[in-house]
Amino acid sequence: MKRNLTVKGMAALALALAAPVAMGEVSVEEYRAMLADKDANPGFLVIDQGEVLYKTKRGPKNASLEKCDFGLGPGKLKGAYAQLPRYFKDTKRVQDIESRLLTCTVTLQGFDEAEIKKKTFADQRYNETNTDIEMLAAYVAYQSNGMRINPPLKHPAEKEARKVGEAYFWNRHGPMDFSCATCHAEDGKRVRLQNLVNVYNKKDIQATMSTWPTYRVSHGVARNMQHRMWDCHWQMRTPDIEFGSPATTALISFLTHQAKGGTYDLPGMKR
């Protein structure tokens, strides 16, 4: 993937990055317009890094990820993300992009799953750059840019993941009594000034799901849906939900099916 960041784009980016500290001078609308400027999206740099990483021989088995099967066959990346999550015969479970990447780094490259899971997200408090799995997810997802969100719903496990994922969406727990639905089941809601997606509003959820993975300006890194799931749970004051766990994957299955028919517009850029 080759894409040059234009001078105009870089200027807009500088403004976008400055915006959170100078919010008084820039309206929220102007800020959002700057976020929508594709040429200024630093997520493209992360995608490039992900591509290099994907093709590099690494790990105890000294192999690249080029033979990873995301559902369309080994090494077939084009359009694969648009058809995730899906059931995989080899692992006998429904997997999303990140949990599948985890499988491939273990089976193809010989990395230790528990070791990778110790550090899946860059820590924005210390200005860390993206972790390997964040870069890889950004790259693999981008190969479905411009395509329709179309996760399969044939295998019983896929139906089950969607259904149980929705039930979990309504599950209230933790000291705040929150479920996902507390914030994400009605139109026009906000936490402070942050708009909240209504997952039962087709346009709303399509706009959300079609723009992940996304570059998060306030974090200075690209984030993926597994991070979004962890972040919401953290705010809900639960323990850390596990990366690539059955619950996050089921939730992502439900959300992706709600957004079916939307068009991937990657990478996204958000606050």
Binding site: Y168, P175, D177, T182, K189, R192, R237, T238, P239
Partner: protein, 210 residues
């Protein structure tokens, strides 16, 4: 308003009750949770254990049958505790600080809230969902606006008690309310609930200024 909600939930329960009965996924969700969080340093697995109210609200997606909703209200009402001396109007200035705060109780190994920073207790997180002081524009809208709360309602004993009870345990009156049971769940102490009550009701509070 409350009656209307009850009638509506009764109608919904009648219409969709059988669907819920056929599709009770609670056991599957419980299994999902059990396989998706791991105990360890900084984690608190007890937070994932649902009480009876959380179970019911999850099962019925916040629309429990009227009979269950009544039992829930009674059960939650019985949990309400008052501060020593039963003074429900506390210090509105401290209430203001608590209302603005959003810090505290986030746990885990990745980004826990450092307890050293929690000198005044947990934040009440009120602005996440409610408009309060008219000068604060960064207010959420998941809950109703509370701007002018006391100016509109006065500061009678009934209003003070109603407000305290609502803050301490919102589900004592509204079954499956979106609002956290701030006092009952230990986010705020009874004294802190009284302070926020004063912030809402007191005529001196900036929330009640034009």
């Amino acid at each position: 308003m409350k009656n209307r909600t009850l009638i509506l939930s009764a109608l919904l329960a009648g219409a969709f009750g059988t669907v819920h009965a056929a599709e009770d996924l609670s056991a599957k969700v419980e299994k999902l949770v059990a396989s998706s969080f791991k105990p360890g340093e900084g984690q608190d697995m007890s937070r994932l254990v649902q009480d009876e109210t959380q179970k019911l609200c999850s099962k019925y997606r916040n629309n429990p049958p009227a009979k269950d909703a009544d039992a829930l209200n009674k059960r939650e009402r019985a949990t309400i505790k008052y501060p020593d001396g039963n003074k429900l109007m506390g210090d509105w200035k401290n209430g203001e600080k608590l209302a603005k705060g959003g810090f505290g109780m986030r746990i885990g190994a990745i980004e826990p809230d450092p307890t050293a920073k929690q000198k005044g207790g947990n934040g009440g997180n009120c602005y996440a969902c409610h408009a309060l002081d008219p000068k604060e524009v960064a207010a959420g809208n998941i809950g109703p606006s509370l701007t002018g709360y006391g100016a509109l309602r006065g500061a009678s004993d009934d209003i003070v008690t109603y407000t305290y009870d609502k803050l301490y345990n919102a589900q004592a009156t509204v079954a499956c309310s979106s609002m956290p049971r701030m006092g009952h769940n230990g986010i705020l102490t009874p004294q802190q609930v009284a302070d926020i009550t004063a912030y809402l009701v007191s005529p001196e509070s900036p929330l009640n200024q034009k």
